[in-house]
């Protein structure tokens, strides 16, 4: 991969992770109130994981946006690794949240008072598809196509 493609992938992954964290925060915490800051469940290890992922999500979205802005002003954005990175970052974060934080650490669930199976399948399948498609886009050898302001 050229430098532009590599940095496009990096910007994509950062923005994807940030997007997942942002959606989680805004949709599930603030709008739907399905999630809570502390659910009264789970071991301390889960809280540590939650705390660091919360911080990582915000830092990722800021770093990703600035990296993308830098690519755009140089006219070095390469679309395929950028899109692949966003999908892989979002899907990877969602699958981590769904499998490790929800199930392995038992930290919190998607929603309470309902049968979880459908939610879990939808959550992890969506994330898994994003992760796989993103990785395919990232690993497929591609001719660099320059988009943006150049």
């Amino acid at each position: 991969m050229s430098g532009g493609a590599r940095r496009s992938a990096l910007a994509g992954v950062l923005m994807g992770v940030g997007l997942a964290a942002f959606l989680d925060e805004v949709v599930f915490h603030q709008l739907l109130h399905w999630h809570h800051f502390y659910d009264g469940a789970g071991p301390d290890a889960g809280l540590v994981s939650d705390g660091f992922f919360h911080a990582a999500g915000w830092i990722a979205v800021v770093a990703g946006l600035f990296t993308y802005a830098d690519l755009q002003r140089r006219g070095e954005t390469v679309r395929r690794p950028l899109v692949g990175g966003v999908l892989a970052g979002w899907g990877g974060f969602q699958v981590y949240d769904g499998l490790v934080q929800h199930k392995l650490l038992g930290l919190h669930q998607i929603r309470y008072g309902v049968d979880l199976a459908a939610y879990d399948v939808a959550w992890n399948t969506a994330g898994g598809i994003g992760l796989v498609v993103g990785l395919l886009l990232l690993t497929r050898p591609a001719r660099d196509r320059v988009t943006g302001t150049a």
Binding site: A55, D70, R74
Partner: protein, 296 residues
């Protein structure tokens, strides 16, 4: 540690007047004025001799100094909700004050106006081995994280009540560690061993993650206590705001310095043999190349 006396709803009904600490507020206001005056005098002297010193920095320094009386007042206004008061004071003294102070670059200002002898002492101190250890990234993370972990996750925050010397020591540690942390990330003072952008984002991640975790562990220590929950959520919310702001400042500095970086970092340029390799060390003080319009 469920005894947080934090769950008295409606304790703030009706503006609680400043009580016993009215005198303390006045005293710290005087202290803040005493800390601001030399800064203003020094920046006025710089401008008087034709040097540039942005006025915004003087504002930031004044804001930092005002955090001290504000913290005393907040502690008094929130005295019915002990833990929330501690969090408010931590936000003011351990987070807002250090970031504002670091952006005001007080050491740089001092180095530019001090007479030769004290200036030499300050420089020697900044260049000493001791300073190099204390301002290294691992030491800064350790100092910063240990401060708020010890304060909120041990009975220390109860112990400061009625022990002014201990309270001042705890808050002084928070201010100084916070200054080192903020200065390492976004400051302009000449600190030894300031890492590059990735290193600084990693430092931020470690401290921000630990801070958010402490807020969660605090709530988990007494989940049924509304006061503890409010305190934990305030701690995490303020942490998120400050961390996003710090990340944006780090990245904005990186973006602004973008013209100093080579266009792309080609590991092995295939298909474009004609372009010269332009890799150079990070932060190499190359003269600003004119922007390359449409580099391909």
């Amino acid at each position: 540690m469920t005894d947080h006396h934090g769950s008295t709803p409606g304790a703030l009904a009706g503006a609680a007047p400043l009580g016993a600490s009215f005198g303390m507020v006045l005293l710290t206001l005087l202290l803040a004025a005493a800390a601001t005056a030399p800064y203003l005098a020094a920046s006025a002297r710089l401008r008087g001799r034709g040097d540039r010193w942005p006025a915004g920095r003087a504002l930031l320094w004044s804001a930092a100094a005002l955090c001290v009386p504000a913290a005393v007042a907040a502690g008094d206004l929130l005295r019915e909700r002990e833990l929330v008061a501690h969090v408010a004071q931590h936000v003011l003294l351990g987070m807002v004050l250090p970031v504002a102070a670091a952006l005001a670059a007080p050491l740089s200002l001092a180095l530019r106006v001090l007479p030769p002898r004290p200036r030499g002492t300050l420089l020697a101190l900044l260049r000493s081995r001791w300073a190099r250890v204390v301002t290294s990234a691992p030491a800064v993370v350790l100092l910063e994280v240990s401060g708020f972990v010890a304060f909120f996750l041990t009975p220390l925050h109860h112990a400061v009540a009625g022990r002014p010397v201990l309270a001042v020591a705890v808050h002084a540690h928070a201010v100084l560690a916070g200054y080192l942390f903020a200065s390492l990330l976004v400051g302009r003072d000449p600190l030894r061993g300031r890492p590059g952008v990735r290193g600084r984002l990693l430092v931020l991640l470690l401290v921000a993650g630990a801070h958010d975790t402490v807020a969660r562990l605090l709530v988990a220590s007494a989940p049924a206590d509304a006061g503890v929950r409010a305190a934990g959520e305030l701690l995490a919310g303020a942490g998120t705001v400050v961390d996003v702001g710090l990340a944006a400042l780090v990245m904005a500095g990186w973006y602004a310095a973008g013209h100093l970086r080579p266009a792309a970092r080609p590991p092995a340029r295939r298909r474009r043999p004609s372009r010269p390799a332009r890799r150079s060390g990070r932060r190499s003080p190359r003269p600003a190349a004119p922007p390359r319009p449409g580099s391909r």
